[in-house]
Amino acid sequence: MQKARNLLLQAAIVGLVLLALYALAGIVAAKMRGLGVEPGFGFLAQRAGFDIGDTLIDFDAADSYGRAFVVGLLNTVAVALVAIVASVLLGGALGLGQLARNRLLARLCEAYVELFRNVPLLLQVLIVYVLLIGRLPLPHEAWHVFGDWGPDVWLSKSGLALPWPIWGEGGLMLERPVLGRFTFSGGAMLSPEFMAVASALTLFTAAYIAEVVRGSVQSVSQRQTEAALALGLSDAQTLRFVVVPQALRSMIPPLANQLLNLIKNSSLAVAVGYPDLVAVADTTLNQSGHAVECIAIIMAVYLTLSLLTAALMGGWHARLLRQQGGH
């Protein structure tokens, strides 16, 4: 009796969900056609018609919307990767710093965590961006970062212009940035938008990673550390051979969580005009009217990135557990 009722209930739920989806799809399709937009992903092959400032691969207005999405995705991945590496390094240092025997240093690290964790990331992105475009000089008065003797690196409102290796006639060679009438060309250019998003993501996520590291290291029992020190290991050796390997095991799941957050948070790039996936989707949506498809693409990409990160971190965790087996 109970079972039959449950089965019926579930069937009804499935039916309702399907019906709701069907009704929604009908309404949406009708509305889109009313706007002169044919639902479907066919528009991805159409000519995008707009240019993108920051690109890792060649792109111009004659290319397709699909390629624009790829450009956006690569930008998302680039800014996320840079921020992941930097925030893990900074966060790790801050986490260990909080546990330093030097109380002053520990307090300083704690202050950092409290400061950056309690301010919205969007605000941090905006603050860094306003600082960069407000305080940096115009391209014509760019700062020569390493002076006249070091590599040719220029910092200005246009961004950080760097020499970059390219394939020339004589094989691999360094192309140097050159100041044109308006801004630098040649070499590589890190835009202020990129720098703002990458550094704010780093500063913000590092505060959380610091807490993860601190928690994991603290979970390694005090006695183990004391035993290691008693055996004559130095502080650094104790950390390297006793604490870190054990802490890593408990650290990886929450760390993975923070990295997932970082990847999702990179979508805030849209607030300062860095052409990440969301920004490209926003433009495409405005241009083509394919709102449903564009948002579906955003969601699918982030879900994939999330799953990918989770799988990578999970694999690493599993390997660590296998290697350390006995503990």
């Binding site: 309404i27 002053l104 300083l108 964790r117 309690n118 605000l123 306003v130 805030l268 949506l285 879900l303």
Partner: protein, 336 residues
Amino acid sequence: MGAAMKRYLTPGNAVLGALLLWAAWHLFDWAIVQAVFRPDVAACHALEGRGACWGVVAEKYRVIFFGRYPFEEQWRPLLATALMLVMLGLSVSRPFRNRRILVLWGAGLAIFLLLMKGGLFGLANVDTPRWGGLPLTLILTVFGLAGAFPLAVLLALGRNGRLPVVRSVCAVFIEIVRGVPLVAVLFMAAFLFPLFLPQGWDFPALLRVLVGIVLFAGAYLAEVIRGGLLAIPRGQTEAAQALGLSYWQMQVRVILPQALRQVLPALMNSAIALFKDTSLVIIVGLFELTGALGLAVDGDPKWRAFALDGYLFIALIYWIGCFALSRYSRTLERAT
């Protein structure tokens, strides 16, 4: 005492301390000593960056706090904000930790909305597109949480329940929402919800965004609550069943109260996260605190140069809010 002093007096600490003092002095000098507090642009420009220009806040505080709300009516959002803060304060204090608090909140939120919207008792009607600033931040956070909580309870129970279909529907919803950024959910609220509605129906942007926030926060809270549910020993369920309680009676009277108490600190953390995340609604054109600052400063040629000082002021407000909440959460953690 002496030993502790000695531990502090290392050369490394001396250098670090000196650096710290130097930085602290410069910060103090910049933020207080040299700073301009009057709404005087000329004085701010004369600083040339040697001091902060808090004058931008003195000049623009009405827009920063209340956005585009009609100027003469701004006592209403002020009163509404004060009311909300008092209610938050009361909820923290012990004498109100019971059912009375729910009645209080119900009445409080109704008065809050009445003050903001008007249209009754001789208050002029003010439409939601003109709401902004701090009250909007509070609306998105408080109403967002209030809406997300029941959803989260249902999702958590569903995902932990016995019906496989319900379990998977809840799990899929939770994982999808948690796998995508809030920006995507807000875009959905801004661009897709109108398409979902039949022709001729329209909801104000605020309501659509609020629905988006409820769905988003609901998924996160659901996982927190589920953690609490999993921590309840099976014996409790069995005992409740033996007493002849129905499923809902058991959940509401026995399981949920214990589970929620257990995850209270984690729930608080989610609340803090949501408070910070509300700043994102600027991306879909709502002007809460962060957006209102842009409204006040970016469009004004006189003060545009001092946007940074404005942002720092807003950051301070958020910081105070989040820090206070996280401290409160920590005392809860100790209490449980």
